[in-house]
């Protein structure tokens, strides 16, 4: 029994069917194939643009765009915001890339019949709790990404593929932090 298990360790695990909402949805793609697809997209970015992917930067730019309109002097006084003010903040590669992410995810979701207005949460959490935690998580994540100069797509994926030292240190820290806190927020998910 054990040898069979270890040899087949790379094989997909049969997933238990989720409740009714998933009846129409197509099963997810083999994660390794999805990973290869993602890797090729990343490679295309390297070859065509000479840069990797990203996401957090686009959100920073949106904030700077709004601030720049409401209180430009205040924005320029912060070195963080000022660094995004070299020209129109939204006219940037990352912003357009993130718009593409929205489009691409929507297309994939549509094809797989996975588009539905819902709130993802565990069975024992209320919608209110989940939404509050989503907001809090986003807030923390933006701070972490700003400190690290990137998020999982920019630093971990792109920097990881380029064997960037800081990116690998960052990646390990992300997993460490998430695993460390998982037990304490299990109510939200399990």
């Amino acid at each position: 029994m054990t040898t069979k298990t270890s040899a087949a360790a790379w094989e997909p695990v049969p997933v238990k069917a989720e409740p009714a909402e998933r009846e129409l949805a197509a099963p997810y793609m083999n994660p390794y194939l999805a990973g290869v697809g993602l890797g090729l997209v990343l490679l295309a970015a390297f070859v065509v643009m000479g840069r990797g992917l990203g996401a957090s930067g686009a959100f920073n730019r949106l904030v700077v765009f709004v601030l720049g309109g409401l209180a430009p002097e205040h924005a320029k006084a912060s070195p963080f915001f000022a660094s995004y003010l070299d020209g129109p903040p939204l006219k940037d590669w990352l912003v357009f890339e993130v718009l593409g992410v929205l489009a691409g995810a929507f297309i994939s979701g549509l094809l797989a019949r996975r588009v539905m207005v819902t709130v993802e949460k565990g069975p024992h959490a209320s919608v209110g709790l989940r939404l509050a935690m989503a907001f809090a998580g986003g807030l923390l994540m933006a701070i972490g990404a700003a400190l690290a100069r990137g998020c999982t797509s920019g630093q971990a994926l792109s920097g990881g593929a380029l064997l960037n030292l800081g990116s690998w240190a960052f990646m390990l820290s992300v997993f460490a932090g998430a695993y460390a806190l998982a037990y304490f927020v299990r109510r939200e998910w399990r």
Binding site: G35, L40, A58, K121, L162, L163, G177
Partner: protein, 200 residues
């Protein structure tokens, strides 16, 4: 040397924005294909029941890494012209930890939250709002000299692992591949164990 194409002036800044959008489509497409528009699937990684995050991430890293290495080896790609985010050891480790906390609390990362929003997840929208709030908070807090100096501390510049540990590039590439394959094998075992526990 013909790549990176943009660095050799094959097209200009405006066209690069269209390229950005197209690449983004590919990015978002595969994120959703893998199921990363769902917070539950993402977070399952940290409860060791579904390790797709690890599998997808590291397969992507290995694919792009091998591709870039081979293209550069063939003299088609100049790796020195591919943008490398400078290393700031302590801020990046600290940032990583905080990001990890945010990941398991919020259920997404910035890229996947967009995939979630695109497929109708309201929690993805709230996560995105949180991102904006956090970005603003950071921009304000960085005015404090203590924070600003922390932000730029322990700078090592653009460093790669092979340079840092003084090993040949190719050897590190192979080591990463081995580590990933080992990780995938272990992930499979963990998932099987979790599935067995669940059905009990």
């Amino acid at each position: 040397m013909i790549a990176p194409l943009f660095r050799y002036g094959l097209f200009g800044d405006e066209t690069s924005l269209i390229v950005a959008f197209l690449i983004g489509i590919g990015f978002g497409f595969f994120l959703e294909r893998a199921g990363f528009g769902s917070a539950r699937k993402l977070v399952a990684q940290f409860y060791l029941t579904d390790l797709a995050v690890f599998k997808v991430m590291f397969t992507a890293i290995v694919t792009a890494m091998l591709g870039a290495t081979y293209l550069a080896w063939m003299g088609l790609l100049d790796l020195s012209l591919v943008n490398l985010v400078p290393t700031y050891v302590v801020p990046q480790i600290a940032g990583g930890l905080v990001l990890g906390f945010g990941f398991v609390i919020g259920g997404y990362c910035p890229g996947t939250s967009m995939a979630a929003v695109a497929t109708g997840r309201i929690d993805g929208v709230f996560f995105g709002l949180g991102l904006l709030a956090g970005s603003f908070v950071f921009g304000e807090v960085i005015r404090l000299p203590a924070v600003a100096s922390f932000f730029t501390s322990t700078e090592l510049g653009e460093t790669t692992i092979p340079t840092y540990v003084n090993l040949p590039y190719g050897l590190v590439v192979f080591a990463v591949v081995l580590m990933a394959l080992g990780g995938f094998w272990a992930a499979g075992l963990l998932e099987r164990k979790a599935a067995a526990c669940a059905t009990r």
